[in-house]
């Protein structure tokens, strides 16, 4: 094996082979996925999707009152994704529910159906995650209310004693309570031992609000043509 061109051809084709297989083929397989309603089907009994869909070259508006899933995250939820990235949340939290019988994702209440590829097509940064130092975050917005999320981010020990999740006090501001207008409506409700003290209040910054909106948007609480809720 002395020839430079031969070695190069070999290393080129081995890598090209795996890229074609893993990346390109998957892309071709999934590129046509669109948001869909679970119920709508065309004449061949295939699901149709989007706000509009094509039938024989004619664009038809989707049925009113039906929502096509997954939804595109917008506004605060979309910005919150950036906070999630910047804080490195994905190193401890996954965003994928595995099928019933593989792991205990169902039994832990993380979801009542398996996550599928279509669930992620509207996200511009897909963070499935590879670690569960903390729980999976699919449907975390269904499991806990917003107040819980804010308290948990401010200091996880408030809601989950013994947690190893870091606190994020820098996403909040401690300020003195305005004597004229009284406590802010946005002030975070905190147990006494985490409260900064009388005369003070803790206000979530915009970043905290964005992050919580993002977390509340991670729900997969809809059925898709290819996946229905798992019956008990």
């Amino acid at each position: 094996m002395k020839s430079l061109p031969l070695i190069f051809l070999g290393v080129f084709f081995t890598l090209a082979f795996s890229w074609t297989g893993i990346v390109l083929t998957s892309h071709l397989q999934m590129k046509d996925l669109t948001p869909v309603t679970a119920e709508l089907v065309d004449k061949d009994d295939k699901p149709v999707g989007g706000g509009n869909f094509l039938v024989n070259g004619v664009t038809i508006k989707n049925t009113d009152g039906m929502t096509a899933y997954p939804l595109r995250p917008v506004g605060e939820a979309q910005r919150g994704k950036e906070i999630y990235e910047q804080m490195g949340c994905l190193y401890c939290h996954s965003q994928q529910v595995r099928r019933k019988g593989f792991g205990a994702d169902f039994e832990r209440g993380w979801g009542n159906r398996q996550s599928v590829a279509r669930d992620y097509i509207e996200q511009d940064r897909v963070m499935l995650g590879t670690m569960r130092t903390g729980p999976d975050l699919t449907n975390v917005g269904l499991r806990y209310p917003e107040l819980w999320q804010y308290q948990h981010i401010y200091n996880p020990q408030i809601t989950s004693t013994g947690s190893t999740m870091p606190p994020y006090p820098f996403l909040f501001e401690v300020q003195t309570i305005n004597e004229l207008t009284g406590p802010s409506v946005e002030a975070l409700e905190l147990p006494a031992n985490y409260h900064p003290g009388p005369g003070f209040e803790v206000i979530p910054t915009q970043r905290a609000k964005d992050l919580v909106s993002y977390l509340m948007s991670l729900n997969q609480d809809y059925e898709l043509p290819e996946i229905k809720f798992t019956e008990e």
Binding site: M1, K2, L4, I7, F8, G10, V11, T14, L15, F17, S18, W19, G21, I22, V23, S26, H27, Q29, M30, L33, Y84, E85, Q86, M87, G88, C89, L90, Y91, C92, Q96, R98, R99, F102, G103, A104, E107, R108, Q114, S115, V116, A117, Y120, I121, R125, V126, M127, L128, G129, T130, M131, R132, T133, P156, S160, T161, G162, S163, T164, P166, P169
Partner: protein, 476 residues
């Protein structure tokens, strides 16, 4: 005209030392980030008020400092040097390497600063912000071109196995990086194609970059130090092409159970298991070359570290193949077991071989012997035992974590609450922090020896034999 090894060494001195000194600096910085992250994983309030040092950022700074600061710098020192020696030609164009060295270290410094600052990209192993991408691509291109030039105008009649691996690795990495950067950052793919691209890239950084370079280094140093030929040429050809073919496909085992096409996962699992072939073949070649020379090997710091790495390559790869099996993966996936496995590969295999290479290389570059064998012993024992403790504690702790996470009672209710599972990992994570401290001590000993050597006078002519840690067979 053929060049003597001494001439090659002399002309490689500047670029190799630039990369080596940078590598040692990043090794220490990466260790500091590692200790912070390790303490935070049991005591989350530690430095908890600092946004720049929140767990997600220091952990990522640690990974990037180690892989791209320490790993790439030490590779850029060792691999061109081995290539130059094996090509036996006068070394030219070292300015290319010097320029690359400067670009690279600016890129990593800015990249890690960006991570801490909050410009981190949410793609594993590609976290350094996009504004350093041009510098990274320029560096990879410069060094890749240098390696190809060195090979193309070689004066040696033979091409040795190390040269294939180095050539291949220097082609694979730039290509991998460029494609991943385009498909994930500049023109992101839709949906989970991102995740597939991510793991195709990230696992291949390990499999098609760190691994071939470390194997090439072991292939070069074992016969060189022990003075005996490699066991089998034909096996080395099989090992090379089997690795090239199978390792490529293995990365998707990080997505087993995930929302990606089942056939991709199956292909990844098959490839991961097929990796047994190149691993066994390489193991036979490395280990059978050493058989019978254990005493000499133990005396040489280089061979101690390199053989530790070679043995762990075999072990970690077989573990990796097993972890890709669905039933094993069901337990190990999402746990500290995988973290242990990653350190097993990158540290116990790759990094230890690189330490061995530095012990061989620096005296020849600088015409100085190692100043202090005691510091080498400290380095060896702290890092050898430290990494074993780390891998064992993370893998036992991770296995228990995985079992507890999945355990259901007769009614189908989880036996352990999530917080109980977390609590039960803490003792193992404490052991991990302890092992990290041991590695830090080893790294400090190594760094002292390196800088002591650099700042001391030449010993050429006074010292007649290399530093040995025990008497060899020849002396007894």
């Amino acid at each position: 005209m053929k060049a003597r090894l001494g001439e090659v060494d002399a002309s490689m001195r500047q670029p190799a030392m630039l990369f080596l000194v940078s590598a040692v600096f990043w090794l220490l910085a990466g260790s500091a980030f590692a200790i912070m992250a390790a303490i935070k994983s049991t005591n989350p309030d530690f430095l908890g008020l600092s946004e720049w040092l929140t767990f997600g950022r220091v952990r990522t700074a640690h990974l990037n400092a180690m892989i791209f600061g320490w790993g790439n710098n030490v590779i850029f020192a060792v691999a061109p040097w081995i290539m130059g020696r094996l090509c036996k030609a006068r070394i030219r164009h070292t300015n290319i390497l010097l320029a690359a060295g400067i670009f690279w270290n600016i890129a990593v410094t800015v990249g890690i600063f960006g991570i801490l600052r909050g410009d981190m990209v949410g793609v594993e192993w590609l976290e350094m912000p996009a504004y350093i991408t041009p510098l990274v691509i320029i560096t990879y291109a410069l060094i890749g071109v240098w390696v190809v030039i060195a090979f193309r105008w070689r004066q040696s009649e033979h091409v040795y196995v190390s040269q294939w691996y180095i050539l291949a690795a220097f082609f694979w990495l730039p290509w991998l990086y460029t494609i991943a950067q385009i498909m994930l950052i500049f023109e992101p793919a839709t949906g989970v194609v991102q995740s597939l691209t991510n793991w195709w890239f990230a696992h291949n950084v390990l499999g098609l970059w760190l691994t071939p370079i470390a194997i090439a280094t072991a292939y070069y140093l074992i016969p060189k130090v022990l003075g005996r030929p490699i066991h089998s040429y034909y096996l080395s050809v099989v090992g090379f092409w089997a690795l090239a073919l199978f390792y490529n496909w293995a990365g998707v085992h990080h997505l087993i159970g995930g929302p990606v096409p089942a056939w991709v996962i199956s292909a990844g699992t098959v490839a991961s298991v097929m990796m047994v072939i190149p691993v066994i073949v390489t193991a036979i070649n490395h280990h059978l070359t050493v058989v019978g020379s254990h005493k000499d090997g133990w005396a040489s710091p280089t061979i101690r570290f390199v053989m530790f790495g070679a043995i762990n390559y075999t072990v970690v790869s077989l573990f990796g193949s097993a972890m890709a099996l669905r039933h094993v993966n069901e337990v190990t996936h999402f746990t500290h077991f995988t973290v242990g496995h990653a350190h097993h590969g990158v540290y116990a295999f790759f990094t230890m071989i690189m330490f061995g290479a530095v012990y061989y290389m620096m005296p020849r570059l600088l015409f100085r012997e190692w100043r202090n064998p005691f510091l080498i012993r400290v380095h060896w024992w702290m890092c050898g035992l430290g990494i074993l403790l780390m891998v064992i504690s993370l893998q036992i702790g991770g296995w228990i974590q995985g079992l507890e996470m999945n355990a259901l009672d007769a009614d189908g209710v989880p036996v352990h609450t999530f917080i109980q599972v977390v609590e039960n990992t803490k003792p193992w994570l404490w052991l991990r922090s302890l092992s990290g401290l041991m590695l830090l001590v080893g790294h400090i000993a190594f760094a002292i020896n390196v800088f002591w050597m650099i700042f001391s006078p030449k010993t050429e002519g006074q010292v007649t034999q290399p530093t040995l840690l025990t008497p060899t067979t020849e002396e007894t």
